[in-house]
Amino acid sequence: MTDFTIIGKPTAMVDAAGKTTGAGKYADDLSLPGMLVGRILHSPFPHARIKRIDTSRAEKLDGVVAVVTGKDAPNPYGILPVGHDEHALATDKVRYVGDNVACVAAVDESTADKALELIDVEYEVLPAYFDPEDSMKAETELIHDNKPHNLEKDYHHVFGDPEKAFAEAAHVAEARFIANEVTHAAMEPHCTLASFEIDSLTGKPGRLTVWSSTQVPYYLQHKLSLVLEMQMSQIRVIKPLVGGGFGGKSEVIPLEIIAAVAARAARAPVKITYTREEVFWAHRGRPRTIIDLKTGVDKDGHITAVKARVVQDGGAYCSYGVVTILYSGALLGALYDIPNIQYDGYRVLTNKPVCGAMRGHGTVNVRFAFESQLDELALKLKMDSAEIRRRNLLKPPCITINGLRVQSYGLPECIDKVVERSGWKNRIGKLPKGRGLGIACSHYVSGAANSIIRSDMPHSTVNIKIDRDGGVVVYTGASDIGQGSDTMVAQIAAETLGCSMARVKVVAADTDLTPIDIGSYSSRVTFMNGNATLRAAQDVKKQIATAAARKMACAPEDLVFREDKVSKNHVGAGGLPALAEQGSPSPHQQSSVSGRVEGQILRGSLQQKRKDEGPKDQLTFEEAVVAAIDFHGALSGTGSYAPPAEARGGKHKGAGVGPSPAYSYSAQVAEVSVDEETGEVTVHKVWASHDCGRALNPVSVEGQIIGSVWMGMGQALTEEMVWKDGMLMNPGLLEYRSPSSVESPEIEAIIVESVDPEGPFGAKECSEGSLAATIPAIANAVYDAVGVRLHESPFTPERVLAALRAKKNAKTLNLTEGVDPTSPVRFREHGGSLWFRGKGPERHAQDPSRRESVVKAGGDD
């Protein structure tokens, strides 16, 4: 059935007014009586042993209520069960500049700030590791004692016979690609407010309530329980409005635990809001990555084999790292038909802020390399770039060589659409010099088929309650972080129940009230929570139908729920005229009618009057609900979702990551121009088609596609975390350059609907999959424009100019700190010197920063 009343219609977000008026509350907008401000002391050293912490001077400062350190919460935690290597506050060592050492809870911010200066910490500096390939050589002074060679995890997968396939290939391309580090930079800095209640029985602090800017309230509840040694049922996590996440709030961030630890010590509510610099230190972004990629094709352009060696600079703790490195390999599959794959992935620890999950988790950097190399091969074959992609399509339903089940597959249509809309055929290779087009594709999971906490529990559960006046309350654990999941849930409930959106209220992400949902990450919410909502609504609907059918003297299956009416099938089939005769307001009108309550009372008495009139062909939604409550005694329903066994992947080590019940697909064409004298790249337009299965809310789907493409453009051109010996040179929004409106191009979002057999109304993910294609689409367009092939992102003007000058054999200038962006060997460090002949910060004698600098001094002139 495609004749929906709500699904597929552009729908304003249910919480839009709160956002546009400023009335909506984010975590930092909340306050409690007696609330204290928490501020965190951070490590100035990249790697050091804490020998002694003396907080006594800080504690004596007037206005300071509590100072906590690692010993106040010594239990380790981590988002992955295999990666419990973090502490709320350092217990023995600090592992990056910015690591968490102590927290002061005080009456106000300036008092807390002053107190931080009064905490005396004695450190023993240790050698630090900043480059993953160096770090892997370490034998002693490891970052974590149980991780030899600072290797968090490595995986080695071989599917098929890649070596044979390479030997038989018509063309093979092989190169190193480097993608530099990027971060989420959500507009809302992380914030947590924690408050204990005094227990009535014991008279002591009992239940804990935490309001936090999180994508994963349930995981937060779980980790708080671990660290605080409290039962989960004693901890309530409430997610207020969240100002963007993109993965940066998809795991437990130190301040979330620290706030609770401080509140417990201070015996008062404590709120911690990160400064923007602290957000950069908390990070969990996309690791800088080395990708050694080899691809073979036959003479017709079919990919015969892919071999990838991927090294990720993961930072100081595990975070999602094991999953990231697995995604990077697994998602080589499921986009194209690749018969032979070899993957060697290394997740390496370094003394830098921790990398984690970021939009397009694990797939983005490898996709940049892959789609760039595919274009290089197309060139060798003298084949059109769109055509080579068409030659390598999967033939679903199928299971890929690495065990991924693909059912719905809109990629062919995605490619056709962007080729058509961009005028590709007539324009590729024909634009004036300096202007070019590039194409690339990508895909992403609609949620992971295997939860990070291994169990058989459903990934999402949703409850629905309906009251006598027909008001529908949906209780969902889904975390709306701005992507619109509350609206999606309301739409699915309303569509299924045949009632207006105005009837539906969504109560979300409050662990006391809402059943478990594992969170907003890996693009799982529409698919999984949507399915749970659908099932919960079907459960209630069935109950209503049973009761209504009795009233209407028909079988429950004969009833149609639509537009606030429950009708016998033939009436429904008669369609709208029947409704119009009754003069009912349309759902839209009804939602805007004030005095709705009086109307309902009136209808209620009308319904009473009609009670004796014998069976009817149609009931209003309220009448049907009243009948159901009268009949069943109460009206509530439940639905849950767990991915089917068939979607959960293969049996090899690490097979758990990559499988998804459904994959989204994207194809993009970017049009750019390149200034050959400055190397500046301007993106004029991106055509982005995305197969989201079905667009439940087109305005939101388009917003998600555009947002993904735009964020990909940021990573392609302007965004980069710049490092020097473990110091982040640009920990702020002034120097970390998220694009402004001026250089943000028009992005034409094209929705492709493949209607997935298992998605709710056929829907799949739409919020991440498009990001990965943007970077290679721009890279390929730069090549088309000026003939240079960049193997290092972002394509900053200095890198592009370096490539252009090399191509022209112009005089060599050191534009890129010695790293050739067309053939990068290592990561680039910011110039200058941290340490110089005894001057600079205290660092271990073997610290890389103390290598005698090769930087030429500017000198005095």
Partner: protein
């Protein structure tokens, strides 16, 4: 440091406040007046989430001392709604996807309000440059242009019929 008594006019009302001279306008709005609509997004005056109008001109409330604004008329996002209803631009941002996570939205409301007050019919180029003081991380700004165009249209339609 000793607090000083100041009188601050916000959204047409006067507030007498005892504040420290070092307090930023943003903090006074959010903490002393509980007007939490204006947001803090950065600490280096780059993001625009805290934008308010000072005597009708958009400025960053995180980069001004509250005491320095004495005698000036401050308008915050809380002052944009008209008689308890959404202003056209607020409605349009909701309808057209101009706001996703919403954290930057109050800042945009202020700059767009000012933009349209200065220039009721801006070109796309003018809108683009008018929005360039505020960072958004969700939308790529695209749907904001649609929202602004829709708001202009709604205003133009509304004027002759309702008044």
């Amino acid at each position: 440091m000793k607090k000083e008594l100041i009188e601050l006019r916000v959204n047409g009302r006067s507030h007498e406040l005892a504040i420290q001279p070092s307090q930023l306008l943003l903090d006074v709005l959010r903490q002393d007046l509980q007007m939490t609509g204006s947001k803090r997004g950065c600490d280096d005056s780059s993001c625009g989430a805290c934008t308010v109008l000072v005597d009708g001109t958009p400025m960053l409330s995180c980069t001004m001392l509250a005491a320095s604004c004495e005698g000036q008329e401050i308008t915050t996002v809380e002052g944009v709604s008209e008689h308890g209803s959404l202003a056209a631009i607020q409605k349009a941002y909701g309808d057209w996807g101009g706001s996703q996570c919403g954290y930057c939205t109050p800042g945009f409301m202020m700059t767009v309000k000012h933009l349209l007050a200065q220039n009721p019919n801006p070109s796309e180029e003018e809108i683009r440059s008018g929005l360039s003081s505020n960072l958004c991380r969700c939308t790529g700004y695209s749907q904001m242009y649609q929202a602004i165009k829709a708001a202009i249209e709604a205003e133009q339609k509304a004027v002759p019929t309702t008044r």
